[in-house]
């Protein structure tokens, strides 16, 4: 049985489908009686947005005994999808017309789309990270890059006085100093072979006496390549949240503003 078909994975989408069917039936029933669907669907939508936003707070306080992150993520995703039905009930299954309505609608869909993109990235990129190899915290990458640079500099410095050291030093100044200084968001497809070829040439130029330091520098450059790939992939994994979360905050503020206007003129 596929992992996606296991009962423990089906109850959330099942519940969501039931909820969507329920609100659609309620809306249809009320519409058939010429009763207004905008008010209850609006409050439902606002409540759902609040619950969705609470996921971010939940992540800030992982010690809260309100379920694990995985459960919250599940709720976040499926409730977010359910809001697509609710918002369209709210606006009457048509496109908005007013300026603010368009703003709110656009913000909502921006949040939905970035959320779905993030969901897809969360599924696709971790396997890619595994293929890169290694494990490092994103925030440690710049620090590690600096350490690699210092380590390479030390290797070159330790070779001073050895025949061929000048060649090694010139290579460090010309290539490695800039290459190792900072992490780069780049994959550099096929770079492994190019690096190996480059260091083979360097080893011949430096001579047999410097074979070990050249091998150390090769290891450092290879590690930096992996580091750059982690920097790229983890940057994307974390970067989409820089779009999703601010948009979600804007959508929530706009929705609250919208509700305030309704309340003000509610009478």
């Amino acid at each position: 049985m596929s992992a996606w078909l296991r009962p423990r994975r089906l109850w959330l989408p099942g519940l969501t489908a039931l909820a969507i069917a329920g609100v659609l039936a309620l809306a249809a029933f009320r519409a058939a009686r010429l009763e207004d669907n905008r008010l209850w669907s609006g409050w439902t939508m606002l409540s759902a947005l609040a619950v969705l936003a609470a996921f971010n707070l939940r992540k800030r306080v992982p010690s809260l005994p309100v379920g694990g992150n995985a459960l919250w993520l599940g709720w976040h995703v499926w409730l977010g999808l359910a809001t697509i039905a609710v918002i369209h009930i709210h606006i009457g299954w048509r496109l908005p017309i007013g300026t603010f309505s368009w703003l709110l609608y656009s913000l909502y869909w921006s949040v939905v789309v970035t959320g779905l993109v993030g969901l897809a990235l969360g599924r696709l990129l971790p396997p890619l990270l595994a293929t890169i190899g290694g494990e490092i915290i994103y925030e440690r990458i710049p620090e590690r890059a600096l350490a690699l640079h210092a380590e390479a500099a030390a290797v070159v410095e330790d070779c001073a006085g050895t025949p061929g050291a000048e060649t090694l030093k010139r290579h460090f100044v010309d290539r490695l100093d800039g290459e190792l200084a900072t992490p780069r968001r780049t994959w550099r497809l096929g770079a492994e072979a190019a690096i190996a070829a480059r260091f083979a040439v360097l080893a011949r130029a430096a001579g047999p006496a410097l074979a070990a330091p050249v091998a150390d520098l090769l290891a450092i450059v290879r590690e930096k390549l992996l580091l750059d790939r982690h920097w790229l992939v983890q940057g994307v994994l974390k970067g989409w949240l820089f779009v999703h979360i601010p948009l979600a905050v804007l959508a929530l503020i706009a929705a609250i503003y919208h509700a305030a206007i309704i309340l003000a003129y509610h009478g």
Partner: protein
């Protein structure tokens, strides 16, 4: 320097490094905060500049005068007369009633449905609630439905009156899936409404019209006219509608009936047994003595009235037939009003010792200006009809009612509108085609009038043109009236007709001896069915017209 194996980064993830991730969160938080603050700033400034930004959408052009001032309709207070955003209460009638724009076209109904709760303006719009209060209503009888339930504003130029079938069926109790499944049978189609002329298609269409093809073709200058039906039934003022209104009715009818409207003379002024000079002398005497006072209209037909104004001594020798003398005053007056063509008057002097008379000659069936409607007779009848309509209710049940009816009848006989003896119908004159006299006894002479110039309301929502030109062709049917309409010669039985009141039943007995076959839902559903032509309620039911 040997590099360790395992993690290539020489780095182990430890729990004490987790707080470092919060730097990213803080950064995201700051970005969100700044963006949110900017949004609030923009919204706040925009709101102070005007509420156009937060409007759900532009108003319909008819409400555009309201501008961006939401509070004109949506007041942030407890005033129940304002339209609230929850749509539960409305006060559209606050403007629409005073602007004489009745919301649903039927002023009487709107008034009836709104008057009961007029003291509670918020609940004035009660027509749907009224409908629901009927037995079998789908909603709580006290439920209130706002105008906005059907009419959505803030949608720019979108039609405010456009509603869906689902909207209609929300209240209408006869709920059915679609027009071709369960629609109630059509009650009275083609509508059998009272006519002003004795005409039935069964007699004319099958017996006479077939022989008149050439004559009709000559009369027919309209390019759209393609059949013997359209020779008569295409009103120029409503070119998209093939209506019951007959165009050039007089010409059409007089093509055959010219002999029924003969040019004839009848006496207007007579003095039986008087020489013309003596007759003129009598009139002069009356005038000179100031005895010929202006007559009230009631005095025209009774000797009592005549005696009252002219004096019993002068009237003593005048018989009832001499009442024409007094009618003459009115005749002259009417003739002047109607700009009676010269030459129609003729003084008749047979001999010095024979009665003198002032005769009037009718203009004939096809006068270039008046058609067959003689201005004098028409004016006379119009005046009498109005007077009769006024008098009958006033004197109903009194001793005066009988004499009045007799006088009207006598007058109609005088002008030849009805035969003297109803049993002798050989010379019916006006009553050959028009319903007058005893047949309209229930309603006075109000029925004696020319056919309507405009199509009835029910026809304005139905376009024969569309059916003839495109719909029928698409359906593979001949673009001919006979696709839907079939003449039937069976007598129409008004007794069981649900749409006729007693008076109309009485009249219909005479007026629809034979006519069109009743059109049922089955006729319409030949085309208006699932997957073909629209079945929406508003295809036929246009509530706002």
């Amino acid at each position: 320097m040997a590099r360790p194996q395992g993690n290539p980064f020489h780095h182990k993830v430890s729990s004490h490094e987790q707080p470092m991730q919060s730097r990213l969160r803080r950064l995201r938080g700051r970005v969100s905060l700044i963006a949110g603050a900017l949004l609030l700033l923009v919204l706040g400034v925009a709101y102070r500049q005007g509420t156009g930004l937060v409007s759900e959408g532009p108003l319909h052009s008819k409400h555009a005068f309201i501008g961006d001032d939401c509070a004109v309709c949506h007041a942030p207070d407890d005033d129940p007369t304002h339209v609230r955003l929850d749509g539960k209460t409305t006060n559209c009638l606050r403007c629409h009633a005073t602007m004489n724009a009745e919301p649903h076209g039927d002023r009487a109904r709107t008034r009836r449905l709104t008057t009961a709760s007029a003291q509670r303006p918020a609940q004035r719009l009660g027509f749907v609630a009224w409908a629901n209060a009927q037995p079998g209503g789908r909603r709580d009888a006290h439920a209130e439905i706002a105008c906005t339930a059907c009419h959505q504003e803030h949608r720019g130029g979108a039609d405010l009156t456009a509603v869906t079938t689902a909207t209609c069926s929300a209240c209408h109790r006869n709920v059915f899936p679609s027009f071709d499944h369960g629609h109630p049978e059509l009650g009275d189609l083609p509508a059998r409404r009272p006519r002003q002329v004795r005409f039935d298609h069964a007699t004319h269409y099958g017996r006479h019209f077939d022989k008149m093809t050439e004559q009709f073709a000559r009369l027919n200058t309209d390019q759209r006219a393609t059949s013997s039906c359209t020779a008569c039934h295409l009103a120029p003022e409503h070119p998209e509608h093939l209506t019951p209104v007959v165009k050039r009715a007089e010409i059409i009818c007089m093509t055959c009936h010219d002999k029924d409207v003969p040019t004839t003379s009848f006496p207007l002024l007579t003095a039986r047994g008087s020489a013309p000079s003596a007759f003129a002398q009598l009139v002069e005497q009356l005038n000179a003595a100031g005895r010929l006072k202006p007559l009230g209209k009631d005095d025209l037909f009774t000797l009592e009235g005549l005696r009252a104004v002219a004096g019993a001594d002068l009237v003593a020798g005048i018989g009832s037939e001499d009442l024409a003398l007094l009618k003459a005053d009115r005749v002259k007056e009417i003739a002047q009003e109607a700009e009676l063509p010269p030459g129609q008057w003729r003084a008749v002097k047979l001999a010095d010792d024979e009665p003198a008379a002032l005769n009037y000659r009718t203009v004939g069936p096809l006068h270039p200006q008046f058609g067959h409607r003689d201005p004098l007779v028409s004016g006379w009848l119009a005046w009498l009809s109005a007077r009769d309509t006024e008098m009958r209710p006033a004197i109903a049940g009194t001793p005066a009612a009988g004499p009045w009816r007799d006088n009207v009848r006598r007058f109609l006989i005088d002008v030849g509108a009805i035969p003297f003896d109803p049993a002798k119908a050989a010379t019916p004159r006006c009553s050959k085609c028009h319903y007058v006299g005893q047949e309209s006894a229930g309603s006075g002479l109000g029925d004696f009038k020319r056919p309507a110039d405009v199509p009835p309301a029910f026809m304005r929502t139905f376009s024969h043109f569309i059916h003839a030109r495109s719909g029928l062709a698409q359906a593979g049917k001949p673009a001919d009236c006979s696709s839907c309409h079939q003449v039937v010669k069976a007598a129409f039985d008004p007794a069981g007709h649900p749409l006729l009141d007693d008076r109309r039943r009485r009249l219909e007995t005479h007026r629809h001896a034979g006519d069109w076959q009743h059109l049922g839902v089955a006729t319409c559903t030949q085309c208006h069915r699932q997957g073909e032509v629209s079945q929406a309620c508003t295809t036929c039911h246009q509530y706002h017209q």
